[in-house]
């Protein structure tokens, strides 16, 4: 069976060479972006025709948000090979910092799109900063230990945001960890109200912005992965000792990958906080982190396109099942198990490979006849 598999791989690589003028990574990128754009166009057409229900069009930005964060986490899990269970926290850092910025600057920068761009940069900066700072101690660990510590850091961030109060009055900003100690004067307005979070951030992001950000994120990660730094990151994943022996600075590249991954989660957070009217830290707990991880695992390690597809399918699925009321989450779980099996059971993988080969053989015969 193994030999057969190798034969197939040989044939497959042959086809790849014949079919594409581009090298494999850039072909992959073009396919993925093509897929995203196609989905975008179809949805726009459906929307224009009035065929989209209100609840579905409300979901669209959510699809972008979870696709983006899944792509970011795949960089960490699939390419760096380190399991992070705290990525929702980086999302919340991006969400809260950008929403704070937007609320503070509402009067200073009145043009919403420009304010959003700055808010995006603020969100990216702070989530990257947190990724970097947390990465320094965390990335000294490996495997399970690292996963547990990221989980802990995620909960710490959530806990701190839950008791963090920010108010603004004429004299400026007031920060506090207890509500009554913000020392604002009577004209003051609470921006971040502890566990109540931030509400009333102006809704700026929409589906188009989500798609644009998703494509930008895809470009960044694909360009990173197919480069000197990307090879170093994957070398660390494949064999740490060998990577060191060829002179790769393990800590440096681990932190680079982790920071960029956190920054991408931050982008998703910014999109979130500028779409949904209320923002609370409890939304970004370990449940969300694990949900994102499920997208990555179902979509495939080191496969950005898979992450996007999995994120979209698994975000839509609960909504589709809404009619089943009480049985909804049960059916959802069963479907998840079935999808995992069909996607990743070794026997299913082999069967699929053989089918693809047969299909390609037929295809090539036909094209020869023509």
């Amino acid at each position: 069976m193994n030999r057969m598999k190798k034969e197939f791989q040989k044939i497959a690589s042959g086809y790849q060479k014949k079919l594409s003028r581009f090298s494999k990574p850039s072909q992959n990128l073009i396919n993925t972006i093509g897929m995203v754009l196609l989905a975008f166009v179809i949805i726009q057409i459906l929307g224009a025709a009035g065929a989209l229900s209100f609840s579905f069009s409300n979901l669209l930005v959510g699809l972008c948000i979870y696709s983006i964060v899944a792509v970011g986490l795949n960089l960490c899990v699939g390419y760096l090979g380190e399991l992070s269970l705290g990525h929702a926290a980086f999302m919340s850092v991006g969400a809260f910092s950008s929403a704070l910025f937007s609320n503070m600057m509402q009067n200073v920068i009145p043009v919403a799109p420009i304010r959003f761009i700055f808010a995006l940069l603020v969100g990216i900066f702070f989530s990257a900063l947190f990724g970097f700072l947390i990465g320094i101690p965390v990335l000294r660990l490996n495997g399970d230990y690292l996963a547990i510590v990221t989980l802990a850091f995620g909960e710490i961030i959530k806990g701190l945001l839950n008791v963090f109060y920010v108010g603004m009055d004429k004299t400026g900003l007031h920060f506090a960890f207890i509500k009554d100690t913000t020392q604002m004067d009577s004209t003051g307005k609470m921006i971040l109200d502890g566990a109540q979070g931030i509400s009333g951030t102006q809704k700026v992001s929409n589906f188009t912005i989500g798609i644009i950000l998703l494509i930008l994120v895809l470009l960044v990660v694909t360009f990173l992965v197919n480069s000197r730094s990307g090879r170093a990151i994957m070398a660390i994943r494949d064999n740490r000792i060998a990577a060191e022996s060829v002179g790769i600075d393990i800590t440096k590249y681990k932190i680079i990958a982790f920071t960029i991954s956190a920054a991408i989660a931050g982008v998703a957070g910014v999109l979130y906080s500028h779409y949904y009217s209320s923002l609370t830290a409890n939304k970004f707990d370990y449940n969300t982190s694990i949900l994102i991880l499920v997208y990555v695992v179902l979509g495939g390690m080191a496969n950005f396109r898979g992450s996007i597809i999995a994120a979209v399918v698994l975000t839509l699925l609960p909504e589709m099942l809404r009619g089943l009321s009480d049985y909804r989450m049960l059916i959802y779980a069963i479907l998840l198990i079935i999808m995992m099996l069909l996607n990743w059971a070794p026997a299913a993988l082999e069967r699929r490979e053989i089918l693809v080969m047969k299909f390609k053989e037929k295809f090539s015969k036909k094209s020869k006849e023509v």
Binding site: K6, Q9, S13, K17, K24, V220, F223, L224, N226, S227, R228, S229, G230, R231, A232, M234, A235, R237, D238, N239, I241, A242, A243, E244, S245, V246, G247, I248, D249, I256, A302
Partner: protein, 252 residues
């Protein structure tokens, strides 16, 4: 002065003295063998030379630079590259990318240049590709450049590991049991290749090996380790006929 000078090297793990009072001098361009029965401490010596273990005492000089106790990456930059007893390739990278990873510190551009695809990225990548393909051609691996490293047959994986080590542009190449798991034909070919590498790249090579045919065939000088102690040292033919060495290998 010699390329590699090791003086009084020793290491203890807890109460165990794994290597004791080890001396080694290798002139530039030599093919040097390090042999000994199982558990003699050969790989431990390699691990000290490459910074995986910090020696408890002694000094290591490479080309008159003191590299004792430095980190693996610094030692690699100073000019020692190695292969491993159990092959350690980057399995999920292509053959070409494995060698390009070896070029990591030879050809550089920043992460930002990669993300924004600055002109320097294309320039350096092109140069990397050329250099890597050149190396792969030397090892007859250029046809397999796009294949994943894990899909290569065993013998070619060994070759790829040597190619990757050479990509780091070392002064001294350490080979840890390069013939392990090879049949006699493959071993013959490997011997030719090691000689070829020495001549073509003007390389100094230190190798650990169990295969006596290979050792006596290509090594000019030998050191024999036994229980972490140096047993004999000198010209290959002299060492292999040394009664002490024969006793260590075959018993009394």
């Amino acid at each position: 002065m010699a390329l590699l000078e090791v003086k009084n090297l020793g290491i203890s793990f807890g109460g165990l003295r794994a290597v004791d009072n080890f001396n080694l001098t290798i002139e530039k361009g030599r093919l040097y063998g390090l042999i000994g029965p199982n558990g003699a401490g050969k790989t431990t010596v390699f691990n000290m030379l490459t910074g995986v273990y910090k020696p408890t005492d002694g000094t290591i000089f490479l080309d008159q630079n003191n590299i004792t106790g430095k980190k693996t990456i610094e030692i690699n930059k100073a000019g020692i590259a190695r292969t491993f007893q159990n092959i350690r390739l980057f399995q999920d990278l292509s053959v070409l990318d494995n060698v390009k990873t070896g070029l990591h510190n030879q050809e550089k551009y920043s992460t930002a240049a990669a993300i924004f695809r600055l002109p320097v990225y294309f320039k350096v990548e092109k140069k990397m590709n050329e250099k890597a393909m050149e190396l792969l051609k030397v090892f007859d691996l250029d046809q397999e450049a796009e294949i994943l490293a894990e899909n290569l047959p065993y013998g070619k994986q060994r070759k790829l590991e040597i190619a990757r080590a050479l990509a780091t542009n070392p002064k001294l190449l350490l080979l840890d049991e390069p013939a392990a798991g090879m049949n006699p034909n493959e071993t013959q070919e490997l011997m030719k290749m090691i000689r070829f590498v020495r001549d073509k790249f003007d390389m100094t090579i230190l190798l650990i090996e169990h295969d006596m045919k290979l050792v006596s065939g290509i090594c000019e000088e030998l050191t024999v380790l036994n229980f972490g102690q140096e047993l004999a040292q000198g010209k290959s033919s002299d060492v292999l006929n040394n009664p002490l060495v024969i006793k260590a290998y075959l018993g009394e």
